[in-house]
Amino acid sequence: MERKKRICDVCGEREGVITVVQYIGGVRKKLFVCLECAAKVGVDEQLADEQVVIESAQELEHTCPMCGWKLKDVVDTGMLGCPNCYEEFYDEVVPLLEHFHGRGCLKRNVSIALRKDLTTLQWQLRKAVDEERFEDAAYFRDLIKKVEDEIMDDEIKSLLNMDDDDDLEEFMGV
């Protein structure tokens, strides 16, 4: 299937081929730009189709007062300078943490536990079926259904940033 063309968000004329993610004041903005406009901000043609993160020059000079590490150093090395950098560059670090540890990793206390339960139950179900313990298998099947429902509720809540069940019930029209 032919890929749908997207117009450059900067010049509005040519085809946008590079995704540029820009952080300004901790706010993430995603742009599709053409090769010519990308070249103006120093993005190489070879990076077409890659996602490129660019910070404004001012943002890159943002410095951690404890260790002197700059945001530019974080971008260059992928490393932080000291424990305080995690507070200082929090907005920039969160996407990195989510990339390595999974989306929503910072607030997954509930869903991770549930997912783990689900994997364990699926494994127990498979074992029960293999060993022809069909009563146990039915029990695990029912539990799996219950946990899957809880995970779905949990995911909807985190997507909508709802903190309690009342909000969810209202949203679901219950």
């Binding site: 590490w69 490393m79 000291c82 424990p83 943490l97 390595f100 540890h101 990793c105 994997t119």
Partner: protein, 350 residues
Amino acid sequence: MNNFSEDKFFSAPQWFLQKSESTDVVMFAEAIAIRNVAGYSFCLAMSDDEREEVKSMLVDFLRDGDYDTTSAKSLTPMERMMFAERWTISHKTALHPGASEILINEDESESAVVCNIEHLWMRTVSTLENLSMKTKLLLQSLDSMELEHKWATHPQIGFLSPSPAACGAGISISILCHLPASIISNRFARIHSTAESYGIKFVDPWIGGFDMGNPFVKFTTSSLVGRNPDDLLADISMLAEEIIRIERLAREEMNENSIVLEDKVMRAFGLVSYAKVIEMWEFLEILSTLRLGAVMGIIDVPLHKIDEMMVLGQQAHTASMVDDGPDPLKIAQKRAEMMREKLGINEMLE
């Protein structure tokens, strides 16, 4: 001061040769903990004075244990690579040791690196059966250190590291698996999806990338934020159980058509018997086939002999046995000789 004896490089680490019920599939299990001292910059950004201060406080504490200590600088690049090939230090530390200190216990089952990427990198290895006990001992030792030095943590993230990938539980757990039958019978996709559901990635046992054809696969917990060591241990144990089940089932199925399996193993044995050079790219494949043959009782070679070859046949280990410089052809020739010697083929041919 370098306290290491060069003789140790002529044999595989003792811990690696220990066998248990699961070693036919899970060759070993490893826990690596990382810690950084609160109130100090991480290694990349710290001043020389800070580095010396952190180094001396951590090394002093660790020296009270059963470790031999050496400065990474006093090791030659070849020695560092050999330690990486023995999984004693990471490949990254071997390549870029900086001003770090390396501490290794006598049987190399425990090691620590101070002030390389992390302030403290500590590793323990064991059989799968002993993993939980060894991990708890490692964590206890870190807890006792914390009475003197507070570790850097963040309320939402957990233990902090200069690398966001290593933050979280402060520990990662790995298993090295031998999966020839699962790969041949196309069951690896199932293992892959199970691993993925636990947030576990698979990597090359030494460098970290992954070669799809390599039957030796290291599974490592990679999703660490919001997790604790017990979660990770439980995940790895369940994954290991599933991997063992799948691999043994695949081996049983292969054995049903035993002539094909026997042919494969005997071809590998014949190749080692007569080949004059064995390059690195074919080494692991031959070794894997021989190991499968030994496990299935097709060839009468003890498993520990084959596992020893897995270490001694690595590039730096073999290069160190070549007298006149690291010529690639001579290294490949030495590897072939070493394999024949370990398998007792020279005596058989005489």
